[in-house]
Symmetry: C2
Subunit: 238 residues, 2 copies
């Protein structure tokens, strides 16, 4: 991480906060004096696809904001099995889950598409919370929504059979991430398996079933959902 900071960082002074989409969203309650104060400490870094952003065990010094791209938050258990907790796009805040409860990250974060990440000193965020009540409320809300989403996701996945899970995840990418019936999967089959807690072979097998049933079209990473209705029925009824 530190190398990256030195090598690739674009400091706040260069990046004009007026352009920063995050300000609109996150700092809507922050008077402009405050937002400048936060942005001074800002560091912007570009990550390539598959590049590591945060490792489990890293000290939490900064709050992350995704300006652009797509990242995954995942847990590596002792037997090296990886479980993907969340896929986050700009305006998501799910990577904040342990920022106020731990001093060290519990999960790994890496880019699954080329991504631009803003790093804002956590100390400055805390100062802002102390000084600005509206900002605190806004942050509480963001954190709550993010946790809620993750928890809801676990509940949704656990109650489904394998076909239901694959349908769920395909519709997630189509509707939540790419907002299109055709999209390029940003993750491998193995990573899909890690998102919905099943074996890689079965992800492939069931995707093939969907293909044979003419519900989707597959061209390696490119997926087209041809029959939303049936896929949604499978998602609901398993």
């Amino acid at each position: 991480m530190n190398d990256k900071f030195n090598k690739k960082a674009v400091r706040g002074s260069i990046c004009d906060c007026k352009d920063c989409v995050l300000r609109e969203l996150m700092f809507i309650h922050v008077p402009s004096s405050g937002s400048k104060y936060v942005c001074k400490s800002k560091v912007e870094i570009k990550f390539n696809k598959d590049e590591n952003i945060i490792s489990s065990g890293d000290e939490i010094k900064n709050m992350l904001c995704i300006k652009d791209g797509l990242i995954k938050i995942y847990y590596t258990s002792k037997n090296n099995k990886e479980q993907i907790i969340s896929i986050a796009k700009p305006y998501d805040f799910s990577y904040l889950i342990n920022i106020f409860s731990n001093n060290y990250y519990k999960y790994n974060i890496s880019a699954i598409e080329d991504s631009t990440i803003c790093f804002i000193s956590i100390d400055n965020i805390k100062k802002m919370v102390l000084e600005n009540g509206s900002f605190a409320i806004s942050l509480l809300n963001k954190l709550s929504v993010a946790s809620d989403k993750i928890i809801n996701n676990f509940l949704e996945i656990n109650k489904r059979n394998l076909r239901g899970r694959v349908a769920y995840i395909l519709l997630f990418f189509s509707k939540e991430i790419y907002k299109s019936s055709v999209f390029i999967l940003p993750v491998s089959r193995k990573e899909i398996a890690e998102m919905i807690d099943m074996a890689t072979e079965n992800v492939i097998r069931i995707m093939s079933e969907f293909r044979i049933e003419d519900i989707i079209r597959i061209h390696t990473k490119e997926i087209e959902i041809k029959d939303f209705k049936r896929l949604e029925i499978i998602m609901e009824k398993g």
Copy 2:
């Protein structure tokens, strides 16, 4: 809920906040003027075992604090299958998960032991956040820890086989909740199944296995863990 408020409520004026354990924990940063301010709006209610406290869909008007007892937070899906998200005891804050992200509760809450719950107006909590930065930080921390616990729980359960899950939950009750090798299960076998995502019969079957293997002693609801070491190995290795 409203009937209960009218029938059983003990208003804040009666309950002396000096005795309230929550104040120590939650409002440690709140000047006494502030804590009085919050406590004025406080309503304390006793619930019997199995009594409903919050229903999914209820409007969020109050923040809950458990003074005493044990509650479960659970999700009821459309097919009436229940998934228990968390068991909470005093000082836990896991029942707060959607208090800052939603206007209506998404999950049900009910008492699994006789419990005393404090209800504090959410508006007053928000006022406190706006006025008192330290309180905001403290609340952010509590919420973060609570969500983190729930997420961690899902990860721990999902990666285990059935024997590992039952071991996990028995050790949870023994270590986290009752801090004793002998305890009375506050939940039915069916509810254990709902906590760790498995069939009721298999919970029973595996508990019987543990009994036959002389790892635990079972007398209906009363459980004694006789061999922590082996149970922990089963928890770790499945």
